[in-house]
């Protein structure tokens, strides 16, 4: 595949005797919108956890933009430019929508313990970030919720917010864990078309776990199928849905 941004090479992760991942090799091209599917317990979230540094793989390597990133801590992986969302969104309930967005830029001056009490050191940067955040929120239709608490948002808005706040930084790769879970069908389609818009307009790369194949297959350009920790199939969406092994895995598993 041309110009891969993320490469997973023979990655395995064992928990005691359980082989959650058992030699997975795949790559995500720059600017791609790639799906990752598989029955429950097939190792999709484990793979995300390995990529984002939650787990150190038992075997194998993860490369991002020509750099090896397996074994890095989650915060270091984020600083490399990988943003991740969770199956159950993890926003910060005691912060407002704006603050949730303002949190994302790394290495803010005002986050340094010595500078934090001295407002003049970071005031300028803070104002700039705030303006950028407001523009971002307005652009994606969250302008009315700037000072709202996260608990006032709808499920779809929460998913949206979790994704777009990555735009505050120059993150390049987005790992979305079931962005359409718990959202009505229409909203799910909207969510995906919005992701595609981001991909087209901003040149971002998306790697997406999704259970709702009917939505996913419409939007992604390539799909990997995991089963029992191994890659079962890969290909264009219409090829994969006709793959016998895939159908069997879904029906059987």
């Amino acid at each position: 595949m041309a110009d891969p941004i993320l490469e997973v090479k023979d990655v395995a992760k064992y928990f005691g005797g359980v082989k959650a991942l058992d030699g997975v090799t795949l790559s995500v091209p720059r600017g791609g919108m790639i799906g990752l599917i598989g029955p429950n317990g097939s190792g999709k979230t484990t793979l995300f956890n390995v990529i984002t540094g939650f787990y150190v793989p038992t075997r194998g390597e993860v490369w991002f933009e020509g750099e090896r990133i397996d074994g890095l801590n989650p915060n270091e992986v984020y600083l490399k430019g990988i943003v991740r969302t969770f199956q159950i969104p993890r926003l910060f309930p005691s912060l407002t929508v704006l603050e949730n967005v303002l949190l994302t830029p790394p290495n803010q001056i005002g986050e340094r313990p010595l500078y934090a009490p001295i407002r003049s050191k970071w005031e300028k940067q803070e104002r700039e970030l705030a303006r950028k955040a407001v523009r971002l929120l307005k652009r994606f239709g969250l302008g009315d919720y700037i000072h709202a608490s996260v608990s006032e948002l709808s499920a779809a808005h929460i998913k949206l917010l979790e994704t777009i706040r990555g735009l505050m930084t120059d993150a390049k790769l987005y790992l979305l864990d079931e962005p359409a879970a718990g959202v009505a069908y229409d909203m799910a389609k909207e969510m995906f078309s919005f992701v595609r818009r981001l991909r087209d307009e901003e040149g971002l790369t998306f790697f997406i776990i999704e259970h709702r194949l009917e939505v996913l297959m419409e939007f992604v350009d390539y799909v990997y199928v995991l089963h029992n920790g191994k890659l079962l199939a890969e290909g264009k969406p219409d090829e994969v849905v006709q793959n016998k092994a895939v159908i069997e895995a879904y029906l059987g598993g």
């Binding site: 939650f54 787990y55 150190v56 750099e67 801590n73």
Partner: protein, 315 residues
């Protein structure tokens, strides 16, 4: 010198620790709350046996039964009055733990105040009481005298652990307790009467801990209002060794700590002249080593962060 007495002490202390720590691990595993009132159960049990002895009721088994009921009742009271309402409101487990801390302080000084008055009535001028109770007689085996209290402790802890095992593994309510431990919300949805099962679990925990308090009093032979507080460190270390999860590991932890406090300190004392007052430092060391080397990640929550990176990224 590590002699017979150190070994016998290790056994008796370890068994008492085990009976005290098992219910702490159990209640943590089910509710994810470290219950500081646990310390009060110990004090309560210890005073039950001491005060019954003072008024002439000198059967240790009656004392244990009474301690079991009192400790269980107190635990259920706490659950109904404080823990359950907080849980219903969706409070963080940390908040519930701090509430248990408040209860611990309240009860501790309530006990002080009550004893203060009680001992004016009983005309003793000290809050500490010598334990006077009777169970099995002492036995002489090949020149070694085995204290009657030790035999009582062995019998009681065998009964308690066996009963706990049978209840958890072989009964329906035990199954329900384990289901709640795995997932409180899910268990409730699937029709388990969560409230009742939890009350039963708390009764069991409080009761067993109070019986542990009786055993601890038998080991100490003198009971003071601080008797529970003195073993906070030991009991929590044991529970941490068990990862606050595994009852078997908790039992092993009890003997690791009591072995440290009796045998290891004696060896170090002989070899390097380490003062015996360093006992708590060794226990603290055990706690630190356990947290550093086998951090109880699963049960205690924690951060997926590694201080040492396995390799540096390279081009």
């Amino acid at each position: 010198m590590v002699g017979v007495s150190e070994i016998l002490n290790t056994v008796q202390m370890g068994l008492a620790y085990m009976v005290i720590a098992l219910p702490l691990t159990l209640s943590y595993r089910v509710t994810q709350v470290i219950n500081f009132v646990h310390i009060i159960f110990i004090t309560l049990g210890a005073y039950t046996v001491a005060l019954l002895g003072l008024v002439g009721l000198t059967n240790v088994w009656i004392a244990m039964g009474a301690a079991f009921l009192l400790g269980g009742a107190l635990a259920v009271l706490d659950n109904v009055a404080v823990f359950e309402p907080l849980w219903r409101r969706g409070s963080d487990v940390l908040i519930i733990m701090v509430a248990s801390l408040g209860l611990w302080i309240f009860y501790k000084y309530l006990i002080y105040a009550v004893l203060d008055k009680l001992f004016i009535v009983l005309r003793t001028n000290t809050l500490s009481v010598l334990v006077h109770t009777e169970g099995f007689p002492s036995v002489s085996l090949g020149g070694i005298t085995i204290d009657g209290y030790l035999i009582d402790t062995v019998v009681a802890s065998v009964i308690v652990s066996l009963a706990l095992y049978l209840i958890l593994m072989r009964t329906r309510i035990g199954k329900a307790i384990r289901a709640i431990a795995d997932n409180q919300v899910l268990a409730e949805i699937s029709g388990i009467p969560r409230g009742r099962v939890l009350n039963f679990m708390w009764f069991l925990s409080g009761g067993i801990a109070a019986v542990g308090g009786v055993l601890w009093a038998l080991f100490q032979t003198t009971v003071t209002p601080e008797i529970g507080d003195q073993i906070i460190l030991q009991v929590f270390s044991i529970a941490v060794i068990g990862g606050l999860y595994s009852l078997t590991k908790t039992a092993i932890g009890a003997f690791i700590v009591s072995g440290t406090e009796n045998i290891v300190i004696a060896v170090l004392h002989d070899a390097f002249g380490l003062p015996l007052s360093f006992r708590p430092f060794l226990v603290f060391l055990v706690l630190l080593v356990v947290i550093l080397i086998w951090p109880p990640l699963g049960a205690g929550g924690g951060l997926p962060y590694r201080f040492r990176v396995r390799h540096r990224s390279r081009r």
